[in-house]
């Protein structure tokens, strides 16, 4: 680190080292840790703009280069089919400048929020420096790796130096649960896990929960991704333990039982109703015309995409359906021409981006139905958009019919 701070390895690396050092000092780190990988958020031009490009260019012109494996979050459009999907050319050009800068810094152009499905998959106990709130939650909680909730630029600084400060969730003492959450209702579906996540994020803030009462057979990787993503959107949960499921839970369960840890407890006996968001001026009599159905936040795995497509062979859609996933997954599925020729052209397997980070207003979308708690949480802040949160089956039905029945709304 000293050489980097002194500028011996170039001014770009120096900027990164200064950032890592500043954070280590603030959070009273007892030194620096080498990291195995980084995941970097802040890729969509919509989100970082010219200010972000200037910062990336300052690193690039200072000859900075990733020293550990570093993967990239989704950007603002699908790099293959942006034109067909309706993205403006000017936005593509700006997005290309962002990607070009990251590429020059040696970051892999994965453009996905699920790097752990794409080979950047840390093992239990590995120290990493990740941004992307849903990926952080998954890495810490489900994989048992150790990362703080890095901001995009600090994860990038760790990629460029290979280090992070030894503080926060890199220390065992901070991974101990602070709040017990007892689930007393049935949480089974992808939608249930998202709803629970939205509720808990609000209640927990930055706390580490120890969750009991979830059945193991329902805690699939897909459902845990949904839970973690939602808790990290409505709150700032970076790590959760699920009794009998997640890798660090057993150790903490024993400590709680022995009385070595005493923590407050909350009960969830009923899931909140997640209301439909419909702009006041929108005239809807019970049913809303759907412009887009969105699945794949966080990005769907290959199996998730195939499960949806199999059910849609030969069927006609009346709304656009986006299924967001990684580019490698999209390419392998599109090679199966026997499948693709049976699919309605309104079905778009979209890679490199998602509905949260793309310039949705530029696409002319006014109403979205999604099964993602995280996507719902962010989209509802867009005043010109109607946002409806439904389970996967209802989403598919909306894509087929082109409408959705509206329930209680704001």
């Amino acid at each position: 680190m000293k050489k980097m701070l002194d500028g011996e390895l170039g001014s770009g690396t120096q900027i990164a080292a200064e950032m890592i050092t500043a954070l280590a000092k603030i959070y009273d780190a007892d030194g620096f840790l080498p990291v195995k990988s980084s995941q970097i958020s802040g890729v969509s031009y919509k989100n970082i703009g010219e200010a972000g490009i200037e910062f990336l260019e300052s690193l690039r012109s200072g000859d900075a280069r990733a020293r550990v494996r570093a993967t990239l979050n989704p950007c603002g459009l699908d790099l293959d089919s942006w034109r067909e999907l309706g993205f403006p050319e000017a936005f593509y050009r700006d997005q290309a400048r962002v990607l070009d800068a990251y590429n020059a810094l040696g970051i892999e152009m994965t453009c996905s929020c699920t790097p752990y499905l794409l080979g950047n998959c840390p093992a239990k106990g590995d120290h990493v420096a990740w941004s992307e709130s849903s990926a952080i939650s998954y890495a810490n909680s489900v994989l048992g790796a150790m990362t703080n909730r890095e901001g995009g630029p600090s994860a990038l600084a760790s990629a460029l130096t290979g280090f992070t400060g030894n503080f926060g969730l890199h220390l065992e003492k901070n991974r101990i649960p602070r709040q017990s959450v007892v689930i007393r209702c049935n949480i089974e579906s992808y939608l249930d896990f998202g709803t629970l996540g939205l509720m808990l994020g609000k209640k927990l803030g930055q706390d580490v929960p120890f969750i009991t009462g979830l059945k193991k057979e329902h805690c699939t990787p897909e459902n845990l991704r949904q839970l973690g993503a939602a808790m990290a959107a409505s709150g700032a949960v970076a790590l959760y333990h699920v009794d009998g499921v997640t890798p660090e839970a057993k150790k903490h369960a024993v400590s709680i039982k022995k009385g070595e840890i005493t923590i407050p407890s909350m009960e969830i006996s009923e899931l909140d109703e997640i209301v439909d968001v419909v702009p006041a001026k929108k005239d809807v009599a019970g049913a809303l015309k759907v412009d887009m159905v969105f699945l794949g936040c966080p990005h769907y795995s290959r199996q998730d995409v195939m499960d949806i497509l199999e059910g849609l062979r030969g069927k006609k859609l009346h709304a656009t359906l986006w299924i967001a996933t990684a580019r490698t997954v999209k390419k392998s599925i599109l090679e199966d021409t026997d499948l693709t020729r049976q699919l309605d052209p309104r079905i778009k397997i979209v890679s490199d981006t998602c509905i949260v980070v793309c310039p949705i207003d530029a696409l002319g979308i006014k109403s979205v139905v999604t099964n993602s708690g995280k996507a719902y949480f962010y989209l509802k802040n867009n005043e010109s958009l109607a946002v409806v949160y439904r389970d996967t089956q209802a989403c598919i039905e909306s894509a087929l019919s082109g409408t959705v029945a509206i329930g209680r709304r704001t």
């Binding site: 958020s41 703009g49 972000g52 709130s133 959107a233 700032a236 802040n381």
Partner: protein, 132 residues
């Protein structure tokens, strides 16, 4: 008039005096603040519709996306950043953002002491509260 000083942890140092914008609810940075205007747009948040521009923004902690650091940098570039940030608990996402955007920021503060303040001075690790 004699004021009183509250000790805080420095996230990014500086000296600034300005009007306070206070919330006792966590704040969504990315997606919750409009970067061209600096107006809070998070649906249902008590500060919805308020401008953070030039204010000393006081809130317990941030929530949501790790893109928040970039959001603070964009707010600064657009000239609508807060004058300073005061948190109860500042996580690395805000810390990274204020370092890049050079926005004075402190945390480890009992926010109930600031609830009724109209104006504050941040000076390094001290928050100076004007006597009411």
């Amino acid at each position: 008039m004699a004021g009183r000083a509250i000790k805080a942890r420095v996230i990014f140092g500086g000296r600034v005096t300005s009007e306070v914008l206070f919330s006792d609810k966590p704040l969504l940075i990315y997606g919750g603040i409009d970067t061209p205007s600096g107006i809070v747009v998070e649906r249902g948040h008590p500060l919805n519709g308020c401008s953070i521009q030039g204010k000393i923004l006081v809130f317990p902690e941030a929530k949501g996306s790790t893109v928040g650091s970039w959001t603070l940098l964009q707010l600064k570039k657009n000239g609508v950043a807060p004058a300073a940030i005061v948190n109860a608990s500042c996580e690395p996402i805000i810390a990274t953002g204020v370092i890049m955007a050079r926005i004075p920021c402190v945390d480890k503060v009992d926010l109930s002491l600031l609830k009724t303040c109209k104006k504050l001075t941040i000076n390094g690790s001290e928050i100076l509260v004007d006597a009411l």
